[in-house]
Symmetry: C2
Subunit: 306 residues, 2 copies
């Protein structure tokens, strides 16, 4: 393989993904590992990265390494302070450049974005996917929803992130599935799509009753042997339904784009269909690569001139 | 100590509590252990109980042992099938009598109560506390709220459990405190009462936004160093506030009695004060003992005649 012209990195809480990129920003090689930033110390990041890309590195000259995600959080590789919304999704000036022992690396970590109004909120990594989306949809005015552990609803206008809101929906689902009294009654590989849709609808009509609604799955399982796939559909539908009820001002009458893993994008698309929305799905990895490419272009104009 | 005339047992998921009772049902001795039914097999219950009460047992003649709680659940000592609400809280006929190897024991396990309308629901143990409450408040017509891992709101009328609803509020708080991204920002020993009250109020006014509201604590902690005691108050207030919004038909314009641990009863009383309610607190252990006493009296009339 030819040595990459630059390297893109998405360093999340649980995963590390690295792409070796050509001069015209096509992917030459990639690595996915579970070496997320969780549990790492600042001094661990450089050797872990080197270990994954050693064979890509040229003999001389620093190669640009553009990093998005949790590596820039407090307790990560080096803190890249949040930028305040409303703002453009990316900023080369406000990135940080951790010193590396290995001179073949020129690392830049992208900042996350924060907000204090209408409510305190933060994102790290999603801004890069948004930048990727905007790079191929430059005039987009509408809503991007990024389903995940912490799902984000983001209002985009004039190329800027106007405001956003985070829901811990995915994390709640994971906690309930792994640790709660519901753990024994759920099906981990299947879910009932009809039960999911009806649960979304029920939850939207009485969105406050989440903690009671999810217990009905436990009770119905004890009393009437509720099928595990239905229990999973009900739990997932209740959590996403409550989120849709709260995010109504985002999606009502707007164009909605979904960026995420296929399985989650599918669930959110089905839930949004219940309220008459027809969101447009986008591939999360593609958006990340496009966003890192847009970031590299911003840097190159300033400091990585050949 | 005199040998007890009968023995009361509250065998929950995490704890086992046993009381040695006199002929006139005062407590002669008591044992509290963490030998809850979680992780026990059916054959473990008798030896564990014996081990805790060996020195109380008479040389001859079976001693009545009245058991409430999860010991009667599927996977417990012996299944005591649910009785369907509306119904009286207790039934001697529908209890089960597991065979014991030791002839000095005459065990009766009380059934739980289920409901299929307006929603599927179950309780096990709370019905005994309710029976205890009714034994000293025979004409009570109103609402009993039993805060806990799975908080119950119960409508009582004419001595019967008319209907009830369970909220997983306590379990959600525990999961979020122990395992979630919020775990590092919470204060485990203190909470800010003003933040709690304001969070209850915010949540009641927008009850659907729970998964977003609780993330604001994480975001504000990252952006503005939110005090841990405030983060705890906000999380607790949001969860209980959402519950109050959903349980409005229970408490609005009704007499509300709170039965539970002092700390939880205090939190629910403060939350109910936000909506103008002045609930009456009752001690949970006292209600359990009164309920077991009422159950023993029902049995005695039938089968434990001296």
């Amino acid at each position: 393989m030819a040595n990459p012209n630059w390297i893109g990195v998405d360093w999340g809480t649980s995963n590390l993904r690295v792409w070796g990129m050509s001069r015209d920003s096509t992917v030459l090689a990639q690595v996915n590992t579970d070496q997320g930033m969780n549990g790492l110390h600042a001094e661990d990041f450089e050797p872990i990265l080197l270990n994954n890309i050693e064979e890509w590195l040229p003999g001389s000259g620093p190669v640009p390494v553009i990093v998005c995600g949790m590596a820039g959080a407090k307790g990560g590789w080096e803190t890249a302070p949040y930028r305040a919304a409303p703002c453009l999704p990316l900023s080369a000036e406000e990135s940080v450049a951790p010193r590396t022992a290995d001179r073949r690396l020129a690392v830049r970590i992208l900042p996350g974005i924060s907000q204090t109004r209408p409510a305190h909120d933060v994102m790290r990594g999603e801004e890069t996917q948004i930048a990727g989306f905007l790079s191929v949809n430059p005039g987009f005015d509408g809503i991007v929803c990024l389903p995940g552990t912490h799902t984000k609803w983001v209002h985009l206008s004039a190329g800027e992130i106007v405001s956003f809101r985070t829901f811990m929906t995915g994390e709640l689902f994971g906690l309930l599935q792994r640790y709660s009294v519901l753990r024994e009654i759920l099906d981990r590989s299947n879910w009932d799509a009809a039960e999911f849709a009806s649960s979304v609808e029920t939850q939207i009509s009485r969105p406050e009753a989440l903690a009671a609604r999810i217990f009905t799955a436990r009770a119905e399982s004890l009393i009437s042997d509720l099928e595990p796939a239905k229990a999973t559909g009900r739990l997932s539908g209740a959590l996403i339904g409550a989120e849709l009820a709260a995010a109504r001002t985002y999606w009502l009458g707007r164009d909605v784009v979904l960026i995420g893993q296929a399985r989650l994008v599918d669930a959110y698309a089905r839930a949004l269909a219940v309220v008459g929305q027809n969101p447009r799905p986008e591939n999360a990895e593609r958006m990340t690569i496009l966003g890192l490419t847009a970031a590299f272009a911003m840097f190159r104009a300033k400091e990585f001139r050949p």
